[in-house]
């Protein structure tokens, strides 16, 4: 579904991503881990062109999104994204947050958009919050709304950029649970995370990045139990 070929990204003279090649197939859950500053988030943000790759290509459904002729807006409709700091629209209610893009971007009718939004709110356990404003929600609730907002566009792929890093510890579980359900439902997911438990339990594949390079990739059991590279070993020793 997504093919990344020789991806490079530099900010000025700082090369953040160096020659990354990998792909994500449909229904796969990929965890991207690595020390901070390793380029994980930048890599994820290249997948929907929030960052423009310096070199290389990103193919979504065989369409090269780095090609200026590609309509990136259309591609982004198919790719949901969840951010570390939620970025809910603070001047809209929870329900409006969920229905805004389906109404304005997809041109859905209000009725359809609202009923879908309510289904999603039920799924993330926030039915009673539809008229609430984001400022009145806890971090965990905000992130669940953000996930529902992304899902409201019925994307084929979901990107998660450290979705639990800004949460109080007791709220991490409720968000991870929603993500686990989503993974079980067959959603294709790319998750940048520091939650090794989640990576181990839910991911089909782990990508380990360090200093902008893809050092190691493999299935979680193998990666966590017998990492092949010294760098991965060193990283795992520090955090586990």
């Amino acid at each position: 579904m997504i093919k990344v070929k020789n991806l490079h990204k530099s900010f000025g003279n700082n090369e953040v991503l160096k020659d990354i090649t990998t792909d994500i197939s449909k229904g796969e859950v990929v965890s991207i881990i690595g020390p901070s500053g390793s380029g994980k988030s930048t890599f994820l943000r290249c997948l929907n062109l929030l960052e423009k790759p310096t070199k290389g290509s990103v193919l979504v459904h065989n369409q090269n999104i780095t090609d200026p002729k590609t309509n990136i807006m259309k591609i982004r409709e198919q790719i949901g994204m969840v951010f570390q700091h939620f970025y809910l629209f603070p001047h809209m209610t929870v329900l409006e947050n969920l229905t805004y893009a389906p109404l304005k971007v997809k041109g859905e009718s209000k009725q359809v958009a609202q009923s879908k939004a309510r289904d999603l709110l039920a799924k993330v356990g926030l039915t009673d919050k539809e008229t609430a404003f984001p400022s009145s929600l806890s971090g965990g609730q905000k992130q669940r709304v953000a996930i529902a907002r992304a899902l409201a566009m019925e994307p084929e792929l979901m990107l998660f950029d450290e979705p639990t890093s800004a949460l109080d510890p007791e709220m991490v579980k409720e968000v991870l649970d929603v993500m686990k359900d989503l993974a079980k439902s067959g959603m294709t997911m790319a998750v940048v995370t520091h939650e090794m438990g989640f990576a181990k339990e839910v991911a089909d594949r782990v990508l380990f990045l360090d200093h902008g390079m893809l050092i190691e990739e493999g299935n979680p059991e193998q990666f966590f139990d017998q990492p092949k590279t010294e760098r991965a070993k060193g990283f795992l020793e520090k955090i586990l």
């Binding site: 929030l50 259309k74 994204m81 970025y87 971007v105 404003f133």
Partner: protein, 219 residues
């Protein structure tokens, strides 16, 4: 000093009429300045550099020269050039609107840039086109933050509107001087319109507070 307000009583209706005359062009000037200011602000944050420079140059000129000079140029000088006999009313709206837009554009630009960049990213990630994102997501949040600064600008404009008396527009200020000349007493009519200006500004302040309170619902 003996103040005698009795003498201005016959002139009160004449001076009160000035309220509407002043308000009429102030309202138009505020709206014109606000719309143009918003467009200029959008130009300033544009990725097309030339557009940004043009907007900056505009602001620089209109902020860098006296308002009364701009008013005089529009009322006296431009007709010499183009032969169109512009009315004091239209000149006033133009001068105050163009001038105000320079200030408003800076306020709005700052407001837009103060909105968390994540809001833009969240909208982009949802596939929301730029224009729609600005209109529905960025500008409403920016407006809420800059409302006090905007109200300040509107209040300044309302008070500075007295400048139009210099081109013979029969606004509040002009009427006070007319009455003063008639009576050979200046203190009473000037005090009288002074109170009216003050009440107008108070009215604006209250409107601003109400709008601010309404926008704060989501906090």
């Amino acid at each position: 000093m003996n103040l005698d307000f009795g003498q201005i009583v016959p002139y009160i209706p004449f001076m009160l009429e000035g309220i509407w005359v002043t308000l009429k062009f102030v309202i138009f000037a505020i709206i014109f300045g606000f719309v143009l200011g918003t467009l200029l602000a959008l130009c300033k944050i544009s990725h097309v550099k030339v557009i940004g420079w043009l907007a900056d140059a505009y602001t620089s000129v209109f902020r860098g020269t006296p308002l009364i000079l701009q008013l005089m140029i529009i009322y006296y000088a431009v007709p010499e050039l183009v032969g169109y006999d512009i009315s004091p009313f239209l000149s006033s709206i133009l001068a105050f609107g163009l001038n105000s837009s320079a200030y408003v554009s800076e306020i709005i630009r700052a407001g837009i840039q103060a909105v968390d960049k994540g809001q833009t990213e969240a909208a982009q990630a949802l596939g929301v086109p730029y224009n729609q994102m600005m209109k529905d997501i960025i500008l409403p949040q920016a407006m809420k933050n800059i409302l006090p600064a905007l109200m300040n600008e509107f209040i300044t404009l309302t008070k500075e509107s007295a400048l139009v008396s210099t081109i013979g527009y029969l606004d509040l200020m002009r009427r006070a001087t007319v009455v003063g000349a008639d009576l050979y007493r200046n203190f009473e009519p000037l005090l009288f319109v002074g109170v009216i200006y003050y009440l107008l500004v108070m009215g604006l302040t209250i409107i601003g507070r109400l709008v601010e309170r309404r926008l704060r619902y989501s906090d």
